[in-house]
Symmetry: C2
Subunit: 200 residues, 2 copies
């Protein structure tokens, strides 16, 4: 049995924001470490023939309402962003860059990015916004800027997304526990039963 | 405040099968009556630009696994049907026909149809299978056959689906409580909080 829980998220996914606040406590209760994997879900959707939620009109209205209500249900602040969805490549690359330095602080960074987008309505598609958040962690803006404008992190993000898809990930949030896939915030209670009791 | 909970379901939807076994107890705890509404989700998907789950490859594999696991989680038998998804017009029309006679027995009928499809692997797209289930309730096969092969119930089912869509329903299972929409099995705990406390 692996000691890990793999957590796949997209910074543009409000349900990923909710999951990012819940998964660590669940894993802790069962002595697991969560490995966070940013993916770019637009890429995944192209391959599997789905569509981002907001392109489907009835569903779009529902999702905005559902996420706000869900956030109240779990006790998180939420304000639906005025620009949604947005490209999240910079934020995802910044996460990878930070993860190499300190995986646990990178999780804090991710929560701060989610908060900027889903609570403060800041446009995290903007490189400057991402760099400001990086700076707030005491990291050097110039080094981050160089890494984020180069091609290496972008290629790595693409490879991370392709690797995720090869494991069956087609949406976010998505979790894999010992090979078992769980899609969505709503499967967390089932994931926890799995952690507690093993396969059922 | 309305005394009702509207429950929209498609006989081809495994998550509707699960919801059909849970919604009555939840409503009872809060002294609500559940009104069951069969809809034909294929029609709805055409309008909103979505697609039935099995047409999306990675998602299809996941859904089969997820539903089996979910059924074990809530304690229901489940066997993924060999023909899936299937047209559910006959079963939905039969439900409407029975509902005019006895709304509570029609719910039993619906659960029996779900069981035939998702446990016994019987093809409920087949008119004869639907008629057999009707007969098992002591109802007259000839009268049911006449109603199910006529145009009236089919037109009514179409109108029911259009009415549902005009209320924001785009998938099944779907619930509406005092105007508030809830999509999916997984929102039942949030629906129950709504029933208990009102809007939050």
């Amino acid at each position: 049995v692996s000691a890990f829980v793999d957590f796949y998220f997209d910074f543009s996914s409000p349900y990923s924001y909710v999951a990012a606040h819940l998964i660590e406590k669940i894993a802790e209760r069962h002595k697991r470490t969560v490995i966070w994997h940013p993916i770019v879900i637009g890429t995944a959707f192209k391959a599997v023939g789905g569509a981002p939620l907001p392109t489907i009109p009835l569903r779009n209205d529902y999702v905005e309402r559902d996420v706000s209500r869900l956030a109240r249900f779990v006790g998180l602040p939420y304000q639906h962003p005025s620009a949604y969805p947005i490209p999240t490549q910079h934020a995802a690359c910044a996460f990878l860059w930070g993860q190499d330095r300190d995986p646990e602080r990178a999780k804090e960074f991710a929560r701060k990015v989610f908060h900027a987008y889903f609570v403060e309505n800041r446009n995290i598609a903007d490189l400057d916004v991402v760099l400001e958040i990086i700076e707030s962690f005491g990291l050097e803006r110039a080094a981050a800027h160089e890494a984020l404008t180069g091609s290496q992190l972008k290629e790595r993000l693409k490879a991370e997304t392709e690797l995720a898809m090869s494991r069956g990930v087609f949406a976010a949030p998505f979790f894999i526990v010992d090979g078992e896939p769980f899609w969505g915030y709503s499967r967390l209670p089932i994931l926890e039963k799995w952690l507690a009791e093993g396969p059922f």
